[in-house]
Structures are given as C-alpha cells and as structure tokens.
C-alpha cells in the first residue's frame, strides 16, 4: 500500500500512563511528532492512564479504530499486544522495550524494539563513579521492575569498573508519582555521603534531581537528555545533571515508521538496539563537558568502542 501526504499512514501510540514524565513516554511521543512532520503519517497519542485495568482496553480500542500501526511499550503491554495481533492481523504493531517470542513464525505483524540500555548505563556509571568525591553513589527506583533493573545493573558494573571500592546504595520509592518523596530520599542519601544520584523513577526521580540542584550535588538523568529538557526553564537544574542514560525510543520509532513506509520493516522479528545502532547512549552535552573531566571522557569514548566491539560484556537482566 502506498501512503502519501493526502493518504497518510495512521499511527497510534498507546501510552500506559500519561505524557509528561519527561523521559520515557515523552521521548516516544517526541519521535512520533517528528515523524508526523517529516513523513506521510498521521499520529494519535492515546493516554491510557495509570489504571492497569484500562491498558488492555486502550490498546484494543486503538486496534479497533482501524489505525494502520499501533505502538506500545514494555512488558506491561506486550502480552496484550500478542493477544490482539491475531484478531487484528491487518494491523501492524510495534512494541518497544520488550519482545514477544517470535519462534516458529509467530506474530508476523509485530515488530519488537529492545534496547541494550545497560550498555549506556555502564558508561554513565563509569562517569558517575569517576566524578564522585565520596566514593558513594545512590540509585532511586520507582519500583524494582525489569526495565528499571536493566539500568541499574549496567550502571553498577560501570561504576565498579571506574572504582572497585565504590559504594552504591539503592532505594525503592514505590511510586513514580511522588516527587516530594524522591526528593526526601535523595536528601537522605546525600546526608549519608552520597554525592551522585541516579534516579530511575519517572516523576519521583524529578524530585531527586531537584534535591541535587538544591544541595549542590550531581545527578544522572534517565531515558531522555534531561539536562536539555531542563536547560530552557531551569538552567540551575540542568547544570547538575552530568549526563543522562538515553534510551532513544523516539528515534527508533521514527526509524521503524520510515522502514514501514518503505515496506522493508522486519515485522515478526526483534530489533536489539544498542550503542552501535545509536539507539542508546549517554548525553554528551555541554553539562557533560563541564562536569566530567577530559581524561574520563576520553576513557568513556574508549569504553564505548570496546562495548560496541564486544570486548566488554555488560550485564543485562534480559
């Protein structure tokens, strides 16, 4: 089928939560907005909200409404998508951050995008441990979920690579929506000697970033280039984010739509995207250059190459 500006491909992104997390979903939505501007696609973002009971209906509703491509993310939506893919065999589905089991030619209309995010987190962990003066890092989790731990294992491995004696404390906030709590946790961590925090906790994590700003400590951003997000409105906040572990969901979705339009998208397979594909990485921005010393940056560039080449095996939960 040929799509054109007059007859665009209709695409729905089903967000199982809401936009405004400044990381995960916003990144996906931003990629699609870019796609809408550049490509003959018509994008609708559907926010399913935080009620788990509504996620499956939201996805089904999108399929039901006849969108050409339906996109959703993570293991939370994976199962629902697998169930729907049979009923809506003419619809194309893209799942990011998780994959179904394609063996035996199952799910020919699903394309999975997964990210070796631990590789990027490795680099961030290396940077964080290198700039830490106290030798103590803190991680704040929204919940102890798979996607969250994928960041943590890489981050911790990288940190140890930089400083074998590094001490890392973990805390679980139990929520992605309580920034006050994230802030308190970070403040408590700073009080216990932590000087770099890595919040992987959505809105809760934003509170932790704010604590770093207020206390003059450092933080590592997550999912998107969070320094860039804050720079226009809150430069002080941006100035303490030494780098971010980016999962370039938006970019990868853009590419996936491009391929779909061109007709060469590998539906029925998993795309494992890592450092070499540019789908994950750390933000090498102005703040990074200021906060991370020259020699560490050089070492990181080196490590990046080694990981890409497979010389360093980075842990993964997947």
């Amino acid at each position: 089928q040929e799509y054109s500006a007059d007859n665009p491909m209709t695409v729905a992104l089903v967000v199982h939560g809401t936009l405004g997390d400044k990381s995960f979903f916003d990144s996906a939505a931003a990629g699609l907005v870019r796609a809408e501007a550049d490509l003959p696609v018509d994008v609708t973002v559907i926010e399913a909200g935080n009620d788990r009971g509504r996620w499956e209906p939201a996805l089904a509703d999108a399929a039901d409404q006849g969108f050409d491509v339906v996109i959703a993310g993570t293991w939370e939506m994976n199962g629902f998508m697998q169930e729907l893919s049979g009923e809506f065999s003419d619809t194309k589905f893209i799942i990011f951050d998780d994959t179904p089991d394609f063996s035996g030619g199952a799910f020919p209309n699903i394309m999975a995008l997964t990210y070796r995010v631990s590789t990027a987190a490795y680099l961030a962990g290396y940077a964080a441990a290198s700039v830490s003066e106290t030798g103590k890092l803190g991680e704040i989790f929204g919940v102890e979920g798979a996607t969250i731990l994928e960041f943590a294992v890489g981050f911790e491995q990288g940190a140890r690579a930089a400083n074998p004696d590094i001490e890392i404390v973990r805390a679980v906030a139990g929520t992605f929506t309580d920034p006050a709590k994230g802030k308190e946790i970070a403040l408590a961590m700073f009080d216990q000697g932590v000087d770099v925090v890595f919040p992987i906790a959505g809105g809760t994590g934003i509170g932790a970033l704010q604590a770093a700003r207020d206390e003059g400590h450092l933080a590592v951003g997550v999912d998107s280039d969070q320094a860039a997000i804050f720079a226009p409105t809150d430069p002080e906040q941006a100035a303490v984010i030494l780098t971010s572990v980016e999962k370039k969901i938006g970019d990868s979705l853009y590419t996936a739509l491009e391929m779909t339009l061109a007709g060469d998208a590998p539906y029925g397979t998993t795309q494992l995207l890592g450092l070499s594909e540019g789908a994950v990485g750390i933000s090498m921005n102005e703040q990074y250059e200021t906060l991370v010393p020259e020699d560490v940056r050089a070492a990181i560039t080196d490590l990046e190459a080694q990981i890409a080449a497979g010389d360093i095996a980075v842990d993964s939960t997947m």
Binding site: E184, M189, D191, Q192, Q210
Partner: protein
C-alpha cells in the same frame, strides 16, 4: 543499628522531620479547627492537593508568598463550598468531603493539563517558585542551635499557628464560641450565636490551613506539582487530629510523630537495604493505626472517668 542511631540524631535528620511534619501539621490544625466546630473534615487530602496545584501555578506568575496565599485561598474556597453543601443543603459532611477529594483527584490532573498545555503528570515545565528557608548562619555548626536553622518559612508559621490557635481557642470569645458549637450547638444557638456561621468559618479556616499544608508540600518539600502528590497525607492528618486529643499542642506532637516516621521510612532503605521498600513504606500507616487504637483506648477510659 548504630548507623540508624547516628542518622537519627543528626541535625539534618531533625530538619527532615520538621520538613516532613510541616504539611501534616497544617492539615492537622485544619482538621482540628473543623472537628472542634463539630464537622469532621475528611476533605483535607483534596484541599491540600488543589491548594498545591494552585500555589504552583500562581507562583509561576507572582512572588512566592502570593503563591502561598493563593494556595491558602483555594483551600478556604473549598471549605466554603463544603460549608455551603453541608450547612445550607444539609448534606452529610463526610460525603461532601469525599466529593471534594474526588474532585481534587481528577480535577487537578485536568487543570494541570490545561495549565501546562497537555501535561498530565508533573508541572516541571512551569517555573514555579519556592518558599525560602530561613537560614541563620550564626547557628550553623553549633550543636543544638543548628537545629534552628534551615527550616522553611512556613515551618515557623506552623509553629506560630499552634500557639495562635491555642490562644484563639482558649483565650478569646470567638474560640469559646467554636468550642461551644462543637460540643453542644443548641447552647450557642440559644445564646444568639449563629451556629452555622461559626461552623462555616471553621470549615473555611480548616481549608485555609490545609491549603497552607499543600503550599508547603509543593513549594518547599518539593518544588512543583505532580498528580496525587499528597499521597494520603490528608488522611494521616485526620488520624493525627484524633490522636492529638483535639488540642493544638497534641496536634503538633502527633504531626511530629508522623513526620518522624515518614523521615525514618526515607532513611531506612539506605541503612537496612534488605527490608523491602514496600514494607518500609507501610511504616507511617502502621504507626497511625497503632497510635489511633492506643489513643482511642486511652480517651475511652478517660471519658468514662468523666461521665
């Protein structure tokens, strides 16, 4: 264990306790005022939430104190709405309170998305302001005295409010009216006091205080608004009212107790990493429950003693 003790007795921990207690204390005082007037205010949660959003949005365009006053005003307005439905239209005050909570849960997200242009999670693309902390450099580093520096301006206001409310309740005529209305409304009614007016004002004051709590939460504890950011604090405050034996000083002690446990639940994961996070998070609620039972038991006995 020694780690825990070390942390607990540090000045920063005490400051954390004060910070965590301040929103609770305001809400508790709010609950106290309306409870003494005879109306149990279960809407503290919703009032705080709406006040938090109002404070944040207003402080984008105005100085911080205007934001605080706006939050207070939003709470007071909700109190007035409650008064209208409860007193004028005779709706049960608990139901009215729940209506306010439901309105707040949905309405704030709706309003936030309008204010931020579609953001339903947080207000971080709004540049809201913070309540300044009052630092006394001379005290820093001096044991005991360092406890008095670095608190939010509203924490001091909260402490003053405790004294003010105590004075109001037990030393002024209007305070006497309020207590009389709560205890036996027929008496002030017959004395020509507008019972409904007193109740209405108590709800408005209750809302204003809860509003201050919301402002502190969104302009100091965390700077900005996120959905459901009150996270049950309004209900804990309700427990604190009962726990504080319906007295402002008791309310303060109860709020501090909860602040203490909230702060503990924050530092504990760093120290006892083996305890699951979810279980640590139950601490404030378990403490509320146990304290409630204990105090109810004691007041029950005290009341028997009186009759």
């Amino acid at each position: 264990m020694t780690d825990l003790l070390e942390v607990v007795f540090s000045a920063t921990f005490l400051i954390t306790v004060i910070r965590a207690s301040t929103p609770l204390l305001f809400a508790t005082l709010g609950g106290l005022i309306s409870d003494l007037g005879g109306a149990l205010n279960v809407a503290l949660e919703g009032m705080m939430l709406i006040a938090a959003l109002t404070a944040v949005v207003v402080s984008v365009y105005a100085p911080w104190y205007v934001g605080v006053v706006a939050g207070m005003g939003a709470g007071a307005a909700l109190g007035a709405i409650m008064a209208l439905f409860h007193l004028r239209y005779k709706a049960d005050v608990i139901l009215v309170g729940f209506a306010v909570n439901i309105l707040a849960a949905g309405g704030t997200v709706f309003a936030l998305s309008l204010a931020t242009g579609g953001d339903k999670g947080t207000s971080i693309n709004l540049q809201s302001k913070a309540i300044p902390s009052i630092d006394i450099p001379a005290f820093e580093g001096i044991p005991v005295l360092n406890f008095f520096t670095g608190h939010s301006a509203l924490s001091w206001l909260a402490a003053l409010s405790v004294a003010g409310i105590w004075y109001f309740l037990y030393r002024t005529p209007r305070g006497m009216w309020l207590r009389g209305v709560g205890e036996y409304p027929a008496a002030p009614e017959a004395a020509g006091i507008g019972v409904n007016a007193v109740r209405a004002w108590s709800l408005v004051a209750s809302g204003a205080l809860a509003g201050l709590g919301g402002a502190q939460l969104a302009m100091f504890n965390y700077i900005g608004f996120t959905r459901d950011m009150t996270a049950g604090r309004g209900f804990i405050a309700l427990g604190a009212v009962l726990l504080g034996a319906r007295h402002p000083v008791g309310a303060m002690l109860a709020a501090l107790l909860f602040g203490l446990f909230e702060a503990l639940s924050i530092v504990m994961p760093g120290i006892f990493s083996w305890i699951p996070g979810e279980l640590v998070q139950t601490i404030p609620f378990v403490v509320t429950l146990l304290a409630l039972i204990l105090f109810s038991y004691r007041t029950q006995r005290a009341e028997r003693t009186l009759s």
